[in-house]
C-alpha cells in the first residue's frame, strides 16, 4: 500500500499502540488489561505498520524472528511456572516479592504471575506478527 499519509500515520499509531500495550500489560492485574490483551494490541500496532511499510520493514523493527519471539514467550511462561518448584510448591503457584511494604500497604508487588503474563504477551505478539508477516510475504 503506497500511501504516504498512511505510512506516516502508521508509525505514530504503532508507537502509541505499543506504549498502550505495555500499559495494559503492566496494569492488567488490577485493572482491565493483561498479557493477552496487551499482546493483541501490540500485534495490531505492528500489523498496521506492516500493512503500510511492507513485511520487510516489519521484520526489521521486530529485530528478532517472530517465531523466536513467540517461543521465547512460551519459554518465559514455563520458567515462571517452574520457579515455584524450587521452593517446593506446585507448578505455576504464584511467588510474590513485596518491595517497600508496610503493615498497611503491600508496596510494589512483583510476582511470578507477572513474569508469566510477560510470557503470554511475547507469545501472542510473536505468534500474530509471525502469521501476518508470513501471509504478507506470500501474497
Amino acid at each position: 500500500m503506497n500511501s504516504i499519509i498512511f505510512r506516516t500515520v502508521s508509525r505514530l499509531l504503532m508507537g502509541l499502540m505499543l506504549l498502550f500495550s505495555l500499559f495494559l500489560l503492566w496494569r492488567g492485574h488490577n485493572e482491565p488489561g493483561g498479557g493477552f490483551i496487551g499482546g493483541l494490541v501490540a500485534a495490531a500496532g505492528l500489523v498496521v505498520y506492516g500493512l503500510a511499510d511492507g513485511p520487510k520493514s516489519m521484520r526489521l523493527i521486530l529485530r528478532f524472528d517472530p517465531a523466536a519471539i513467540a517461543l521465547t514467550g512460551l519459554f518465559v511462561a514455563v520458567v515462571a511456572g517452574l520457579m515455584p518448584l524450587l521452593g517446593g510448591s506446585d507448578f505455576l503457584t504464584g511467588l510474590w516479592l513485596f518491595i517497600g511494604s508496610t503493615p498497611t500497604d503491600k508496596g510494589l508487588a512483583l510476582g511470578t504471575p507477572l513474569l508469566f503474563d510477560i510470557g503470554v504477551y511475547l507469545a501472542v505478539v510473536g505468534g500474530v506478527a509471525g502469521m501476518v508477516v508470513a501471509i504478507e510475504e506470500s501474497i
Binding site: I37, L40, A44, P113, I135
Partner: protein
C-alpha cells in the same frame, strides 16, 4: 571403515553381542540345573505391566543362537559392506534387531512379549528395505511388515484373551494353566488367533510368500533374520505355548497339516529356483514347516526332534546364506546355471559350503544326521498320523539332499563360472570366519553330541514339555527304521538332483496355470485397499472449502436440533430480562451488517460489514461490563479484518461465477439461518436457566487475598487457571509456526 558412526555401530554391536553371548553361556549351567534367571522392574504398575524377563531353558537356547550368530553376522557385515556408505546404519539396525529379538524370547509378561514381537517386525522392515532406493526391496519390506505386523495384531488379541482366561499376564504362570485354557469355551478362537500370529511370523502356509520375497535384503540380513532368528520367533511362540495350548486334537491337526503343506509345497518351490539365495529361502520355509509339524505333537521324541533340528538348522542355514553372500560378492551372480567350479577360486568358502551342506543333507558325522534321525524317529512315534508326518519329513529331507548336492557339486566342484568379473578371488577373513565357525559347530556337535544334549537341549525340552526329562544324543542308533529312511532320503535326493533340470521345467509349466498364489492375493488386497482409501478420501476430502463448511454447519445445526428435541430442553421466554436500549441499537446495526455481508457483491464491503458485526459483539460485551473480553474481541476482530483485507486486496473482484446458483443460495441461506436460530435458542436457554454463581463468588473473594489482584479476569488467566493459559499460549505459538511453515515451504510459482 570410512565413518566414525560406522565404526561405532560395528564396535558397539559386536562388543555388546559378544558380552551378552558370554553372559548367556555363563548362565547355562545354572539354568540346566533348573534355576531360571528372573529380572523384573515395574513399568506401568497401574496396568500390571512390568518389565519382567525370565531366562529359562527354552529362552537361553534362543538367546545363545541370537547373540552368538549376531556376533558372527556383524563381523561378516563389516567385510561384506566394507566401504559402503550405509554400513553404519546396517550395523546399528542389526544391533537393535538383536536386542528386540532377545527381549522377545526372554519377556515374561505377555504385553512385553508383544512389544518386542512388533519391535522385531519394525527392525526387520528397516533391514529388509536396507537398499531403499530399490523398488523391489521397498515392496518386500512393506510386505513383510504388513503380514508379520498384521499377524502381530491378531496375536495381541489372542494373548489378551489367554491372559484374561488364565487371570495372569505372566508368561511363566500362563504356561502352567493349560487345563483352564483348554477347557474354556473360547479355546478354539484363542488358539486360532495365536496360531495366526505364529504362522505369519514363521512364514507358514498360506502366509509363507513373504519370506522368499524378503530375500531382497542383503545377504547378512537374510542369514541373520530369515534363517536363524526372526522367522524362529513363531516357532518360539509355538514351543512356549505348547504346554498351555497343545496336546489337543485341534492343536495337533492344525500344526501337522499346516506344517506338512508348508514343508512339501516349499520343497517343490525350492526345486524350481535357479537363484541360490531363493533356493535357500524356500528350504528355510520348508525347515520352518518341519518345525511346526513336530511341535504339533506332544510326544517327547517329536519335541526333541524339533529342538535339535532348530539348532542344526540355525548352524547350517546361516552358514549357507553367508556362503551364498560370499559367492555373490566374489562373482557377482547367484544364478546356479552361471556358476561352477568355484572350489578353485574360493577354496575356503568351498570347504565351509561343503560342511554346511553335508549337515543340511544329514550326512554323518554332522549334527544334521542326528537331527534327521530324530525327525524320523519322532515322526514314527507320533500316534495320530505317523505316515503323513513321516512322508512329509522324508520329502523335505530328500529336497535338502538335492539342494546340498546342487551347492556342492554344481556350484563348487563341476563346470566353470561364467561371470562378468575378470578374476574371482577369495573373500577376506571377516567374511569366512563367521560361516566357518557355524559350519564347524555343526561338525563338532555331531561328533560330540553331548556338548549340547545335557546343557542346552535338555533344559529347553523340559520347558516345552513342562516336565523333567533327560536327553541323550548319539550318532549311531543301530540298524532300524529311521536309518533305512535315511538311506532312502539320500537315494531320492540324489535322483532328484540328477533330474533337477527336467523337474524344474515341469514345475514351471504347471505353475504357469496355477490360479492363486499368496503373493498375487496380497497384491490384489493391497491395491484394493489403496483404491478404497483413494475413493473415500476423494469423497470426504474434496478440497472445496465451501463444501467443508456446508458439512460442518449442517451437522452442527441438525445435531443440536435433535438433542434439543429428544431432551425436551425447556425454554421459558418470559423469564428473559429486559435488554438495555443501547444494546437494541447495536443489535439492529449488527443485523443490518449481516444482511450486507450476504448480499454484497464486493469483497471489501463484505469484510468491512463482517467487521461491524464483530465490533458490535465487542460493544455488547462492554455494555454488560466485560471490559477485558470486549478489548480482546475488538482486537481479534480488527486483526481479522486487516488480515483478510490484505489477502483479499490481491484477489479479483467478485465476478458472479463463484456464486452458487439459485438452488445453492437457498441451501446456503437455510444452513446459515438454521445455525443462527440454533445458536440463538441456545443463548436464550442459557439465559433463562438459573446461573450458578458459586465459582464467580469464590473468585471475587479470593482474588485479592490469595493472588493480590483486583482484576478477576486477569487473575484467573495468570494465576488460578494459569495452566489453561499456558496451554493456550502454546497453541498460539504452534499455530503460528504451522502457518509460517505452510506459507514459506510452499513452492513459489510466480517469483523466479
Amino acid at each position: 571403515m570410512p565413518h566414525s558412526s560406522t565404526r561405532a555401530g560395528f564396535l558397539v554391536g559386536l562388543i555388546s553381542a559378544a558380552a551378552l553371548c558370554t553372559w548367556f553361556v555363563i548362565q547355562v549351567p545354572g539354568i540346566a540345573a533348573g534355576q531360571a534367571k528372573v529380572i523384573a522392574v515395574d513399568w506401568v504398575p497401574r496396568l500390571g505391566v512390568e518389565l519382567s524377563f525370565r531366562l529359562d531353558g527354552l529362552s537361553v537356547l534362543f538367546c545363545l543362537l541370537i547373540s552368538g550368530i549376531g556376533v558372527l553376522v556383524m563381523l561378516y557385515t563389516s567385510g561384506y559392506f566394507k566401504n559402503h556408505r550405509d554400513q553404519g546404519r546396517l550395523q546399528w539396525l542389526l544391533f537393535a534387531f538383536m536386542l528386540a529379538m532377545l527381549g522377545l524370547v526372554t519377556a515374561d509378561n505377555i504385553l512385553l512379549l508383544f512389544v518386542f514381537w512388533e519391535l522385531t517386525t519394525i527392525t526387520s522392515f528397516l533391514l529388509v528395505g536396507f537398499d531403499h532406493e530399490n523398488r523391489k526391496a521397498r515392496r518386500s519390506a512393506l510386505q513383510a511388515l504388513l503380514i508379520t505386523g498384521g499377524g502381530g495384531l491378531v496375536l495381541l488379541v489372542g494373548l489378551l484373551m489367554v491372559a484374561e482366561i488364565a487371570g495372569t499376564y505372566k508368561v511363566s504362570e500362563l504356561v502352567a494353566s493349560g487345563e483352564l485354557l483348554k477347557n474354556h469355551d473360547a479355546y478354539a478362537v484363542v488358539l486360532g488367533l495365536i496360531l495366526i500370529g505364529a504362522f505369519t511370523k514363521s512364514a507358514q502356509f498360506p502366509f509363507h510368500f513373504w519370506l522368499p520375497n524378503a530375500m531382497a535384503a542383503p545377504s547378512p540380513v537374510s542369514a541373520y533374520l530369515h534363517s536363524a532368528t526372526m522367522v524362529k520367533a513363531g516357532i518360539y511362540l509355538l514351543a512356549r505355548f505348547q504346554p498351555a495350548l497343545g496336546g489337543t486334537d485341534l492343536w495337533f491337526y492344525t500344526l501337522s497339516i499346516v506344517g506338512a503343506i508348508t514343508a512339501v509345497w516349499s520343497s517343490i518351490m525350492a526345486l524350481k529356483q535357479t537363484d541360490l539365495k531363493l533356493m535357500l529361502a524356500w528350504t528355510t520355509v520348508m525347515a520352518l514347516g518341519t518345525l511346526t509339524l513336530f511341535l504339533g505333537s506332544d510326544v517327547r521324541i517329536a519335541a526333541l526332534a524339533a529342538m535339535t533340528f532348530l539348532i542344526v538348522h540355525a548352524f547350517y542355514k546361516c552358514a549357507l546364506f553367508l556362503v551364498i553372500g560370499n559367492i555373490d560378492y566374489a562373482s557377482g551372480t547367484r544364478e546356479v546355471d552361471r556358476l561352477g567350479g568355484l572350489v578353485r577360486a574360493l577354496p575356503v568358502t568351498a570347504v565351509i559350503a561343503m560342511m554346511a551342506s553335508f549337515s543340511m543333507a544329514g550326512f554323518p558325522p554332522f549334527l544334521g544326521f542326528i537331527g534327521k534321525e530324530l525327525k524320523y524317529e519322532g515322526a514314527l512315534a507320533i500316534a495320530g498320523e505317523p505316515y503323513l508326518i513321516a512322508a512329509a519329513a522324508l520329502a523335505a529331507n530328500a529336497m535338502m539332499v538335492t539342494v546340498a548336492l546342487t551347492i556342492v557339486i554344481r556350484v563348487f566342484l563341476k563346470g566353470e563360472t561364467h561371470s562378468d568379473r575378470e578374476r574371482i578371488s577369495e573373500v577376506s577373513w571377516r567374511m569366512w570366519a563367521g560361516p566357518f565357525i557355524l559350519a564347524a559347530a555343526g561338525l563338532l556337535a555331531g561328533v560330540f553330541p553331548d556338548l549340547l544334549a545335557k546343557s542346552i537341549i535338555q533344559p529347553a525340552l523340559s520347558e516345552v514339555l513342562l516336565r523333567e526329562t533327560t536327553v541323550k544324543l548319539s550318532l549311531w542308533h543301530g540298524i532300524n527304521v529311521p536309518l533305512a529312511m535315511s538311506i532312502a532320503t539320500v537315494v531320492i535326493g540324489a535322483i532328484l538332483f540328477f533330474r533337477v533340470g527336467h523337474i524344474r521345467r515341469q514345475i514351471i509349466r504347471v505353475m504357469r496355470f496355477w490360479p492363486v498364489t499368496g503373493d498375487r492375493t496380497y497384491q490384489r488386497a493391497l491395491s484394493g485397499t489403496e483404491r478404497f482409501a483413494r475413493n473415500l478420501t476423494d469423497r470426504i476430502q474434496s478440497g472445496s472449502l465451501s463444501q467443508y463448511l456446508t458439512i460442518i454447519f449442517s451437522v452442527f445445526a441438525i445435531a443440536v436440533t435433535i438433542v434439543w428435541i429428544t431432551h425436551r430442553v425447556p425454554l421459558d421466554i418470559t423469564k428473559l430480562t429486559a435488554v438495555p436500549p443501547l444494546a437494541l441499537v447495536i443489535s439492529a446495526l449488527m443485523i443490518g451488517a449481516t444482511i450486507a455481508v450476504a448480499i454484497s457483491r464486493s469483497r471489501m464491503l463484505s469484510i468491512c460489514a463482517l467487521g461491524i458485526v464483530g465490533s458490535g459483539v465487542a460493544v455488547l460485551f462492554l455494555i454488560f461490563g466485560a471490559i477485558d473480553v470486549a478489548i480482546t474481541q475488538l482486537m481479534v476482530e480488527t486483526l481479522f479484518v486487516v488480515l483478510i483485507a490484505a489477502v483479499m486486496l490481491k484477489l479479483p473482484m467478485f465476478t458472479g461465477q463463484e456464486h452458487p446458483g439459485a438452488g445453492g443460495r437457498t441451501r446456503d441461506a437455510s444452513i446459515a439461518i438454521g445455525c443462527g436460530i440454533v445458536i440463538g435458542l441456545i443463548t436464550m436457554a442459557v439465559g433463562v436457566s438459573p446461573l450458578d454463581l458459586s465459582i464467580t463468588d469464590f473468585y471475587e473473594q479470593a482474588s485479592l487475598p490469595l493472588a493480590y489482584g483486583r482484576n478477576i479476569v486477569n487473575v484467573i488467566l495468570v494465576d488460578f487457571r494459569a495452566l489453561d493459559t499456558l496451554g493456550e499460549v502454546a497453541v498460539v505459538a504452534i499455530a503460528a509456526l504451522a502457518v509460517i511453515a505452510l506459507l514459506t515451504v510452499r513452492p513459489q510459482k510466480h517469483s523466479s
